[in-house]
């Protein structure tokens, strides 16, 4: 299966990876004790089964027998414990560490006071138990993420950036198959625990390939799928029912925003942030890519919450924005262009069509309230490095794709003060709000769905009001595959999830431009390909 992306990945170590593109590969390389099933529910994976104590604090996992890593070594409970400790070790720059802070002994271990994580115990060669200090409604979901997934013994017990990533997932990375900045080739792991799976022999990503090139390569039969089509190509393919039949909307939820660093001026002033939130005309953002975008006025998009006009989200209101600017001490007169914030704000943006466009749209919209923005265009890797490091970036486009289907996933990693890290911060606005922190802590413990919903709505309102992010749009990818790609069903959590897919080349013509159209006609007519 040949895939591509305009962007690049920095690392494939599950302990430190936090970007959505790398997650596509991680999901194929590393298997976890549990994973999300096709309905988005947590289900056993490496674990044959698990049990949860009545008070919700003790988890006991029984591993499947005969599990092996990519390098052939057996996977045991010791490896599970070692991998968890390696991922949460004080020297590991794990931006998701706060997801696991309910594990007993987390504080002592992550601060180096204890050599081992007390809450994780090995109860035999194939039994591992995890004890929480208090109930956590999100723990199983967090465990289904990539961060704590077992890694080969070659990884040792400390994070090492030179380590060749190796796990127990359906595909493996062989030395030399990762050409950084260009491509990644994963080969089938013959020792994978699910009999017969995976069906594909290999999955290959080409990185740094723009959307137009992807389209032409798809038409030339050199790519098997793409989800980064340009606006024009998306419109063209969606207008044609034969092509449209080959496309699927990604059900993973992602949101975008203009991020403001609350530790750096002028965004250390909440009134300026509120002015930005009011100044953005989200309908104009949406029009830039109407097939994929919906205007976003709150953190929890419509895929999580029904439309609620009464919700005090972030609304476009130019008069209110100017009022906030005046309150911040930077009054601006739009008729004369006098006033406003006297300095230029540097906006770090990476080279990608839509993001560069929204950056320029932001410039136009903020100029109306007296905020002058200058774009600094960098590579995606540089963008990630700059925005995650403290005190380096004033403003940048931000986005988040959910890790697991729970409202907390949009708050804990992005806006909790525990997600702040000097070098690799997931909370890139460096926003701290003790009241929100306390609310999020209670939300994680709360097991009643209705109460949780109320709590996260309150958190949403708080973030909207404090505006570390000026929310812009929610994005749904539209993935187009070759007619011979079989078994692809959009996964509710993982993007471009091809672990269950296969290629049926024998039954379909070569995917030249005319070949694709012919195949689609077969599909549309109901005839076998």
């Amino acid at each position: 299966m040949r895939l591509a992306s305009f962007a690049d990945i920095r690392t494939l170590d599950p302990a430190v990876t936090s970007d959505a593109l790398a997650a596509e590969a991680l999901e194929l390389m590393f298997a976890g004790l549990v994973d999300f099933d096709a309905q988005g529910k947590v289900a056993p994976d490496l674990a044959e089964r698990f049990e949860v104590s009545p008070d919700g604090t003790d988890y006991r996992f029984v591993l499947r027998a005969g599990l092996v890593f990519h390098d052939g070594s057996p996977l045991t409970a010791d490896d599970v414990k070692r991998s968890i400790e390696r991922s949460l070790a004080p020297d590991t720059p794990n931006s998701f560490a706060s997801f696991y802070d309910r594990i007993a002994g987390f504080e002592d271990f992550t601060t180096g006071k204890a050599p081992h994580l007390d809450g994780v115990t090995v109860g035999g060669r194939f039994v591992v138990s995890i004890r929480l200090r208090e109930p956590d409604a999100t723990f199983l979901s967090a465990l289904a993420m990539h961060s704590l997934r077992p890694v080969c013994p070659s990884a040792g017990d400390k994070y090492d950036p030179t380590w060749l990533p190796c796990g127990a997932g359906p595909f493996k990375l062989v030395a030399g198959n990762w050409d950084r900045g260009r491509s990644l080739l994963l080969l089938r792991h013959d020792g994978y625990h699910r009999p017969g799976e995976p069906y594909l022999d290999a999955v290959q990503w080409s990185y740094g390939m723009n959307g137009v090139t992807q389209r032409f390569k798809l038409e030339a039969g050199e790519l098997d799928g793409t989800r980064e089509l340009s606006l024009a190509d998306t419109a063209r393919f969606m207008r044609d029912p034969r092509w449209k039949a080959l496309g699927d909307y990604d059900s993973a939820r992602s949101i975008s925003a203009e991020g403001m660093n609350v530790e750096m001026p002028p965004f250390d002033n909440v009134e300026v942030r509120r002015a930005v939130a009011n100044a953005l005309d989200r309908d104009q953002y949406r029009l830039l890519r109407a097939a994929n975008l919906e205007a976003l006025t709150r953190v929890l998009s419509r895929s999580f919450r029904d439309e609620d006009p009464a919700f005090p989200g972030q609304k476009h209101d130019l008069a209110a924005a100017l009022e906030h600017m005046a309150r911040a001490g930077f009054p601006y007169d739009p008729t004369t262009g006098q006033g406003g914030y006297p300095k230029t704000i540097v906006y770090v943006v990476y080279k990608q069509g839509l993001i560069e466009l929204t950056g320029q749209l932001l410039q136009q919209q903020l100029a109306r309230i007296g905020l002058r923005v200058e774009l600094k265009v960098v590579s995606y890797s540089t963008y990630l490095s700059l925005t995650k490091r403290r005190g380096t970036t004033t403003m940048a486009p931000e986005g988040w794709q959910e890790d697991f289907p729970d409202a907390s996933d949009f708050f804990d990693p992005l806006f909790a003060s525990s997600a702040i890290n000097d070098e690799d911060s997931n909370n890139t606005s460096f926003y701290r709000n003790p009241v929100l922190d306390e609310l999020l802590v209670r939300g994680r413990k709360e097991l009643d769905p209705a109460t949780r919903k109320r709590m996260y709505d309150e958190a949403d309102a708080m973030v909207c009001a404090d505006a570390p992010w000026a929310l812009t749009y929610a994005y749904r990818s539209w993935t187009l595959h070759q007619p011979y790609v079989r078994g692809f069903v959009p996964h509710p959590v993982w993007s471009e999830y091809v672990a269950k897919s296969w290629l049926d080349r024998a039954a379909t013509a070569v995917a030249s431009r005319s070949g694709v159209l012919r195949d689609v006609r077969y599909a549309a007519g109901g005839a076998p390909p």
Partner: protein, 343 residues
């Protein structure tokens, strides 16, 4: 057009390619100067009302938007016109910088070739070292200023025989300057420009002038040096030296006019090269930051949707083609007109 040869002007004007080139350059200059005045659209303003189709695609050429709109629904004609100003400005200013540096280095190196060296003033040596330290400390703009001031003081000291400025280590100026040129030429031009641009951190029109100008003089220096080697042994130069004329006067009044012919040809071709380089830099994202309209960036922004909106590529591509062709034709005409073999 009389660089030692009054007949050159006639030869130039009779040159068919040169006449076509002059017309093309004239058209582009007129377009750059006049078009923004009657374009009637702000090149930075998005027209969400009339600039977009129902699919959200850019609007096709119409009475409102003569060349259609781009992906942000901005008027392509207005952006093209403002882009022309920037391209011409960058081409000309960067060429002036490169030509001045190239001529100075080439003439000095050629004039002192074979001599027992010149003294480099301590002030300059200190300035250059400080410049390097400043560069290492991460202040490339300050480093550039230091290097420039040091070089200017050094040149003034050496050429004007200002005693307090002359004291310093002796250096074979020709060898040193030509090895510097060799090192510079060993890098691919665009790579060198991108490296310098990246070191400057922020890219603006001014930094593009500087990066292109500071990297584009190497070829000029080499050719001017070769021409200087011929001219310095001519009788009127030897006579001026024998009469005790100051070195600076000899270089400016006797050498420079005699190397001006090839210098003008080089400069004309260099304008085209600079415009192409600026377009390439903008296309690669290392040029002037958006939303400033540049032809290179317009190409970059248009490539994603050119199947549905071909004007997004055609407009800047044709503009670059016409401009570069025009300057190259003028350069070729000048070369033929000034080349003695053409007589």
């Amino acid at each position: 057009m009389n660089f030692l040869d009054p007949r050159a002007k006639g030869r130039f004007l009779r040159h068919r390619g040169a006449r076509v080139g002059l017309v093309l350059v004239g058209l582009i200059v007129v377009f750059a100067v006049v078009a923004p005045l009657f374009a009637g659209q702000d090149p930075l303003h998005s027209d969400f009302a009339a600039g977009a189709t129902v699919d959200g695609l850019p609007a096709a050429p119409s009475g409102v938007h003569w060349l259609g709109t781009d992906r942000l629904y901005r008027d392509v004609f207005a952006r093209l016109a403002y882009g022309a100003r920037i391209s011409l400005l960058v081409g000309v200013v960067a060429t002036v910088i490169a030509t001045i540096i190239g001529a100075a280095v080439g003439i000095v190196a050629g004039y002192y070739e074979g001599s027992d060296g010149v003294r480099i003033p301590w002030v300059s040596v200190t300035g250059l070292v400080l410049g390097l330290v400043t560069l290492v400390l991460g202040h490339p703009q300050a480093a550039m200023i230091l290097v420039f001031v040091s070089a200017a003081i050094g040149l003034a000291g050496v050429l004007q025989s200002i005693e307090p400025l002359r004291a310093g280590p002796r250096l074979d100026a020709d060898t040193a300057l030509m090895r510097l040129v060799d090192v510079g030429l060993s890098f691919p031009f665009l790579l060198l420009v991108m490296a310098l641009g990246a070191a400057l951190d922020k890219t603006s029109v001014t930094t593009i002038f500087l990066t292109l100008g500071l990297t584009g003089w190497l070829g000029t220096a080499r050719i001017v040096r070769a021409k200087t080697l011929q001219v310095r042994n001519l009788e009127f130069v030897l006579a001026a030296r024998a009469l005790g004329r100051p070195t600076l006067a000899i270089l400016l009044r006797h050498i420079l006019p005699n190397v001006a012919g090839p210098l003008v040809v080089l400069a004309t071709a260099s304008v085209a090269q600079m415009i192409l380089a600026e377009s390439a830099l903008s296309y690669l994202g290392a040029g002037i930051a958006p939303p400033t309209p540049t032809w290179g960036h317009m190409l970059y922004e248009g490539q994603d949707n050119y199947t549905a909106a071909p004007w997004l590529l055609a407009a800047p591509a044709i503009s670059i083609l016409v401009t570069v062709l025009g300057f190259n034709l003028v350069g070729e005409g000048l070369r033929d007109a000034l080349d003695p073999r053409a007589q």
